[in-house]
Amino acid sequence: MPDADDTHELFRKSCLRFAEEKIIPHVIEWEEAGEFPRELYNEAAKDGVLAASIPEEYGGGGGDMLHSLVRTEGLLPCGSTGVVAGLGSLGIALPPVMILGTEEQKKRFIPPVCRGEKVAALAITEPGTGSDVAGVTTRAKKDGDDYVISGSKLFITSGVRADQVTVLTRTSEDKHSGLTFFIVEKGMKGYSVSRALKKTGWWASDTAELAFDEVRVPKENRLGNEGSGFVALMQNFQGERLGLAFMGHATAEVVLEDAIAYSKERSAFGRPIAGFQVTRHKLATMATKVLAAKTLNHSVARRVLAGEYLVTETSMAKNFAAQVAQEVCYEAVQIFGGMGYCRETRVERLSRDARLLPIGGGTSEIMNEIIAKGLGL
């Protein structure tokens, strides 16, 4: 297993500094407003924390997968998973272009996003299908040199503001081999944002329903051959799920830190609440869970970095960290008492944000199906 070298640690620190200087001072305002300023993409690009694992020749950071993962650890202390997810949507929207795209398509669709000039989103989920990803019904019909796309997509992160959307479509009836990715660009006739969704958490990240009403897309926007979508989709899921797993332990780590600090400051019955054994043991259990999730995530990430294709372990890591995040957030809110129910605290925001982790990128039930299959069941 190759060790992470100190570039990962240095990069995590740069991300943390970005969070402290450029996000934290405004985070409550952005959460309440339901979005962060678009300029933050440019700022993040300028400070080199936007597109970590995209090669430098396409304007990215030239790092590896672990760099994008530690970026989540560095940014999450900002206290808004929405900002992290919004800034991070390119991390799921660009890999299909990297995997399937021609050199020309990579040069065209990647650098403007890495510079923060364009916002990119990934659109798989539809009103009629989520977990069953191969059940996608958004259609792309060939018409001369173009394709005509019709259908709709739901729950699309950064979808309201996206300038380009990596869309999974159906080009033939074969369930798995009939799927094809296209890049749909803002301004194309028939493409529109139907609505922005109001959510439990992730407030600062815009989430959209998108409509495709006979959108004419040139074949230059088709990624890979017809039918190449499913394999790229599965590959992309591995990165996304590890990303969500890291979000899980990073969230838990942040709220644990806050809970420890609060338990020392807050007094009840004449002593700090950390003085009650119940609180101390709660914190001890929380810390143990955080370490377990973090250790599992890093160990899976490093093996993936070394070239292993770990579908089962990645699903385990995602499920475990998502669950740890629920439990640790719940207890952190409990330790904060009434303050833990108030929007000004990081604990309150992150505990709402964390509820997404067992749902997004494949639900825990779906992860368990994958794990069971890996067990030969």
Partner: protein, 273 residues
Amino acid sequence: MKILVPLKRVADPDNANKVKPTADKVDTSGLEWKINPFDEYALESALRLTEDGKAPKKRLGEVIVVTVGPKETETTLRSALATGADRAIRVDAEDDALDGRMVAKALQSIVEAEKPDIVLMGKQAVDGDTNQVGQILAERLDYPMATFAATIQEEDGGVLVSREVDGGVCWLRLKNPCVVTVDLRIVAPESVYSLKTDKSFKHNDGVRFAALPAIMKAKKKPLDVKTLGDVAAGTELTAKYSKFEPPPQRAAGVKVADVAELVQKLATEAKVI
């Protein structure tokens, strides 16, 4: 322009409560480390002096960073390389084997070998706060020195430095080679000007980010290792630490009824008037 910037890693001041003094040393295990903030400011100033602010990608001089410490301090050096320094030197030594004079002696040997135009350093390290290495180094080298610099302007063959002192600003014009130690205002937007940077240019406030591409490139920049014997042979420690103890706990405050009681307490209990 060639600038040498000595760096020290210090325990993150936010972790200060984790420092455990034992009999004759401070237990540093488990602490997070960072570059001494004043050294970071010195590095930022050195980078500003070796570029045209408008086109910072093009290096117009060389910045060498040096630290004296164990293997783990190479992360500190690499983080400096990632923000723009050109190469690094580590003098291998355990923290216990060092004091200000020893570090100054080691730096002296490196300055004599590298012959930089300026040695630019932090005014002090925020751990021991001894504020002496720059001064000892300048004395040993017999170089002109300016401490606590608030601004630096490059001139032909030297620098013009301003220092904030009680009642005003003191200006010093130094000939290279020289030693300059910096204070925190040195990273304000209009504090440092190379000859190439237009005086109307404003730098970004603070020290620059280590962006990922630069972090990746830093892996390939040269990092030389020397032993303490190479650079400070025959030097003995002059400072010996006999005991460490935590500062006394602050006592709780008291409320006073009126001014008379306040004055009385200041006189008899606090003994400050």
